[in-house]
Symmetry: none
Subunit: 188 residues, 4 copies
């Protein structure tokens, strides 16, 4: 079954809702209210529910661009000659993409069983595969602290994101925290 292309007006509404939700998410934190988004988008609640039957579906749609970009960066990390540089690229991308889009953090911090769309599950699987590649290479070269599972790394990055969001002046702390993480997971 192929998803039928949206009618022009339906597509416009969908984009409008996403743009509005993104703005609200950035400005007011992760308490998305479909009602509120619909009103601000100048669209009926019913329309909002048609496009995004659950809050989760909306969050996934919001995160989709960031997730796609992240996959591209993960592929690049995988291709890089130097194994450790690959790890650094991967984690850096994972960190920055989440900082730039809180919706992505919500997706990555929760289980795949909560995914509303197959698309997100697919992204998740692909990312897992790519990350495994990057990390296995590093492990093969004894660059990674022994005992760290792939999931551990992903969780730790989420943790760093959380740590960064606690205080102010986030931007100037990003590299500091990233270096701590990288040094911490490195062998030796």
């Amino acid at each position: 079954m192929v998803t039928s292309p949206l009618r022009a007006d339906a597509a416009r509404n969908r984009d409008l809702l996403l743009a509005t939700a993104r703005a609200v998410l950035a400005a007011e934190g992760p308490t998305l209210q479909l009602n509120d988004i619909a009103r601000r988008a100048g669209v009926g609640v019913g329309t909002a529910y048609r496009h995004f039957p659950t809050r989760r579906a909306l969050v996934e749609a919001l995160a989709d661009d960031a997730f796609t970009a992240l996959l591209g960066e993960a592929r690049e990390a995988n291709r890089h000659d130097d194994a450790w540089t690959g790890v650094a690229m991967l984690l850096r991308a994972l960190l920055l993409r989440q900082l730039a889009d809180p919706a992505l953090t919500e997706i990555l911090s929760t289980g795949p069983d909560q995914d509303a769309t197959e698309r997100t599950t697919g992204h998740r699987d692909e990312f897992t595969t790519l990350a495994r590649g990057v990390l296995e290479r590093a492990r093969a070269a004894d660059l990674l602290r022994p005992g760290l599972a792939d999931d551990d790394l992903q969780h730790l990055v989420c943790g760093v994101v959380f740590a960064l969001r606690i205080g102010d002046s986030l931007e100037e702390r990003v590299d500091r925290y990233l270096q701590v993480l990288l040094r911490g997971i490195r062998a030796g």
Copy 2:
């Protein structure tokens, strides 16, 4: 003026409410609702509000034991001969206490301006002082990665707590993550 000891029945209710809240917090996450706690404790809503006028007051009361214990451990870390061991003791205590009591994480992850009681503000100040002592000693011995502020450390530990809570089998991951953090913040 000394706070008068509670009447026996009042003390019983207070404890009942705290125990209930602790159980709910552990089982269902940080969405404490005073009404709900009161109902589950088999106590009138009014009683809950008398003891804890706001959600924050309840969380602080919940966290109080853990916070007190943490202070004791921080003092111990401060007294330890070896500066680096002191740091490890401090961060380990900070990590374990939060894992054991989610209320403590809420207190530590939010601003002091939200504190409802002076007692909590006092704890916070004392912890800050103790931590500064521990960390300054380590800095004086060039044991700590340059550029890390005291707050950074506290935030990073909160981040590790967050990371640990994302997945399952939390206990077996604790030491792994803690080692990553310690290695990451160590100089050299």
Copy 3:
């Protein structure tokens, strides 16, 4: 922009709420509770709040007809040839409209700063202007006891309404009290 006409069902609910509120107000005094009105109207609370976001908005809507009618009568009073008859018409209308609709008394007895709608503020302003016209004409002809401000008159009528509502058999006392007032404010 014209206020769009309500959908048929919305209009029905609005009218239902107003009718219910009017009945309750007449029967049980000025303690309007939105929750209660909604329940009695057989309508969800949310519906009540959608139509009347505050108690004040409801009271203003209730008083609207009476206020509009009062404005008509005030215009008529203003146009009447005889200045004193104009005064009598004005005060009589002010008195009778309040007796017929307690909501109007609430509006007139409280400050314009509490108005929820511009419409009510507009009514209030227009009434003030009309009343000033009527009273100025009477003052110019030395028919009004010196020293009485426009506001005094309005307050005194509210006072007479209050006096009438204290006891029973209201109707037969109206003219008596009105005559007392008219004689009292007349010069000489």
Copy 4:
């Protein structure tokens, strides 16, 4: 049955409650809350309820002094040589006492059937008798507008009180409004 004299401490508490209630009434309007009064008086709620089992009982106790003083003035009015002066004295006293003590207005604006104490009922009866005397004398001398019942006068004064309380700068309006009333009720 004679009311037993209060123990000294009980009398002290009673006075304390009354003084507090009077202050609150003056400062914050007629929404007396027994709980609140008790707390402000530094007395247990239970004690407040012992002394004043209902809100009404408290209001009556509050009004008692004013009511007693009013009776004295009514007697004086009754004794005055000039019948019309007697009326003026009576109404003036009735007006000023209410302005000075809102509790008195509440008593006078409600039915005798709501009285909690016999004492208040007695006051009410005595006042009625005295007022009847004053007014009958005036009627006998054809000084009073025909058709006005004793109750009408009392209600009208309550209305004037209400009118005075609507706006600001109450004091400077008292005499103006009182003159309106006196002129209005006078024959001719």
